[in-house]
Symmetry: C2
Amino acid sequence: MANFALFLSSQKKLMIKQETAYTEKQLLDAQQTLKSYIHQTPVLHSRLLDERCGSRLFFKCENFQRAGAFKMRGAMHKVLSLTQEERGKGVATHSSGNFGQALALSAKIMNIPATIVMPSDAPQVKKDAVAAYGARIIESEPNPQSREETLAEFLKTSGAVECHPYNDQQVILGNSTAAQELFAQQELDDIIAPVGGGGLISGTALASKFFSPTTSIYGVEPMGADDAFRSIRDGKIYPSLKPQTIADGLRTALGDLTYDVISKNVKEILLVSDHEIFAAMKLIWERMKIIVESSSAITLAAVLKYPEIFKGRRIGLILSGGNVDLQKYFG
Amino acid sequence: MANFALFLSSQKKLMIKQETAYTEKQLLDAQQTLKSYIHQTPVLHSRLLDERCGSRLFFKCENFQRAGAFKMRGAMHKVLSLTQEERGKGVATHSSGNFGQALALSAKIMNIPATIVMPSDAPQVKKDAVAAYGARIIESEPNPQSREETLAEFLKTSGAVECHPYNDQQVILGNSTAAQELFAQQELDDIIAPVGGGGLISGTALASKFFSPTTSIYGVEPMGADDAFRSIRDGKIYPSLKPQTIADGLRTALGDLTYDVISKNVKEILLVSDHEIFAAMKLIWERMKIIVESSSAITLAAVLKYPEIFKGRRIGLILSGGNVDLQKYFG
């Protein structure tokens, strides 16, 4: 059995390797296809933060994206790529965060059923958001294994199409449209994106490869969830074991598709501490008057931490999302 | 003495009446003059809020303005209007809020001294912001009379130029540039601005008069600080006595210059409750992912409260500022 599994796995890898030959046309098509379904998000500046960093910062505001995060680009592109028959069966994923909301909204827009497996301990505010988009929620035990098993069970009985939050070519192509827009808006020396499962940095890297090849691509990861950093360094995918970070969107491990794109295109994965993330988040809220998640603020934290890399340069920062629980403020 | 004072006062009024004959050229000049000193702020949309209101909303984001509020436009324009000699003596105002910060930053940009009289009970975060721009702070007792006396005393000894936060033609002309930009960005059926001392709504009304005369102009005021509503209704300026509202930027009374512009150009002043302001503020933070003050959110509160006026229309909402104390969130 073990050998057979190995064989299947290497077969799968071969197939996947072929899939990962992304073309410029695929990226352009993704942008064209998505155009009327997503927001072309603005790019904001801050004189004060420019002065603080000694660089010119261009913040791509995916926190203003529909459903509050860049995830909408990948989810919507995935749904649009489905055949009529597949759409009839609906889509499903497991998610405790932004991808669940994005898939729920994408499905609603196309008027197809969506099912989101959520851990029973997911915050009520996130469950409410998914439910508000009309998706069905199935609760799992609050651990990764139960989430996967619950989803597998549902997929088997329903025939719904599984939509992986990041390790999916259609999702990565969708994600690439954020950086495509940014490059059309602004010339950049560097571009920085957060790294969780690697879906955003993969899309960003592909956009850069085709449309701004002189731009250096950096990923940023929390020190307490540095699996991608170690994976790229050691040439193999590490799981994300017991991640410890406030950046709850960045706790997942790379997939083989995202690993592939990152290892070929990303210049470096930088690490920052939770303390640095928190300070950067406060700075963005206070100085730019926009609400970003800690997972977004990690990009500014990197610029502040590594002046030897970024000083004097024009830097694009992808602010991935803005879905935070505001109860703490509004009570 | 009383008669003499009355005579002076009516003389002053006559002078003022002449001053209030604003011209299209003055407004255009203000925009040209200010251009390189302020941010041309973006206009944001929200599909979700559009659906909620049954209107098309165009949010002019003055919360992204330098120093965090539209006040920068008026303050900077005032400073730029001064003669070399006046600049040498510096500027002064009394303020517990955004105008103090804006004047401090404007003076810093022009490298002239600024003095801000602040009540001793002003929040430390506001004092820090003014001090960070290099202005001198003089503390007064925490009441309007002491603020005015302290400022008058300082003006007498220093010869500095008094900059009134709103009842000043140069300030009003500066403020007009926010709506000027908005009209260049978007055709509008209605435009809404908050009403405190009336400086923003006056600038907005003048921009509309010259550059979008078919647009209806609405002011919004908190029910607990409805002095402008009553002033316009009764044809005389009421003081703002014991205002009770969370919208701390909207507690001031009109001045004669702002009263004049408003009474001639504004279609209606609408009233909303603090509860409605708070709900609108929460909605903007949660759905638009931007940080606005309660004084800004009042514009959306009006759209939500008066569907009979606003349904089906294209509405510009001036989000006046985003200076809130985030300690509650970041602890």
